[in-house]
Symmetry: D2
């Protein structure tokens, strides 16, 4: 799947959140996903909320998996870990650099670094495992 | 801080999300926090989203910390891990049973089991570490 | 499998480490595993090493899984998270209280609290996910 | 601290394990640490044990922190997460590529990819947080 196909699939199956995200870069070994930061993603002090960062990493890993195996609506997150490194600023989008680490028959594992756009120092690191349903 | 004080403090510093949560039980060794599940927390198939579960555990651990040390607006999450066990149903609230594991001078650590209200089998397990700012 | 069967299976397939561990309690909803702390598990300052605590949680979750599904030598750990709460003392054994959270067809998830024997405050919290190979 | 100083410090404060490890590469933005795989690190089927991989990541992050801040024997691991991607072979050493993500006054956070020497596909991913004691 290419970037447009990924965004289209996201809009179809996750209509509640698809407009929050955009696929910035999709190359064989690299995926960058953008969170379009809006008021609902913020916390006091003008920073982006933890759940929004979780959502960005989760969507990023999901899209990286779909880009490889095609549209699988039923893949589910089974495990996640997130480390919060610095406070993101609230007036810039967040970008997640996703790295696919394993794509097996039943499990996909990837991690991501999250940046405030334009900053070189990451604001968060996250990893996610997805269970892929067996093919019928 | 008691349950009403915790909810009041949450409403003051996290107005974007305070109405999503309620303190169900607050005892010396036990805190139960409710996520009032609404349409914005759902995903296709009528299940509650991962970021909503993250938010519930995060708020639960934050409130458990405040209950012990008093209102500290600047405590920040540094690490989290979440395991997703079962799909929560979308038409019931979620309850997080929070367990404080360590309350040091600079770090608080706690974990939580998350349940769909009325079900005995947990839908998720999560743990969070909070950095507590030094007292002035 | 009962406690003796678990220990026997461990001795058969993990001879390098089986003598380090003992099953203290095995009840339908509760498993307690002991790490017999020896010099090789220690670190300077007389504390038990992180890898030893990892090993204890890993073995504990593995045994809790086997107790339910029978001897499956090929189950493998896929994800783990550990939070270190306090320094264990080096002159007492460690005990892990294991809690099975999910036992599905392909994944088992459990967590554990680890204690220095005789202390009420846990020294570590850990969770593990095991992939269970499909039955032939 | 340079590679020799790191190895010397490790030998001084962790004599039980220092001979298991070697610093392969130490550059401003890159640290590679080797686990010299021996029989005691193995599991049946000729693979390297989970606790050995944990130890490698833990030592790698510790050394990456020391390389920046100098010899601090009292830094302690507070949180860790590990994802196991593939089975390492037992007849080759493991190499950890460590990436420092944050070096604050009180917390250091880093992650690592672990490889069987000569293989391009990682066998594990891990992240660690270290608490740095306050300077006197």
């Amino acid at each position: 799947m290419d970037a447009a196909a990924l965004e289209g699939f996201l809009a179809e199956i996750f209509p509640q959140i698809a407009e929050d995200f955009a696929v910035e870069v999709l190359e064989p070994e690299r995926l960058v996903v953008r969170l379009k930061v809006a008021y609902r993603h913020l916390r006091p002090g003008g920073t982006v909320s933890g759940p929004s960062i979780f959502a960005l990493v989760d969507v990023g890993v999901y899209l990286a998996t779909l880009a490889r195996i095609g549209p699988v609506g039923l893949a589910v997150t089974t495990n996640s870990s997130l480390d919060f490194l610095r406070k993101p600023v609230g007036d810039r989008d967040l970008l997640a650099e996703v790295r696919m680490l394993k794509l097996g028959r039943s499990l996909a594992m990837a991690d991501a670094l999250v940046f405030s756009e334009g900053d070189a120092a990451p604001v968060a690191r996250g990893s996610m495992t997805y269970a892929i349903p067996p093919k019928r």
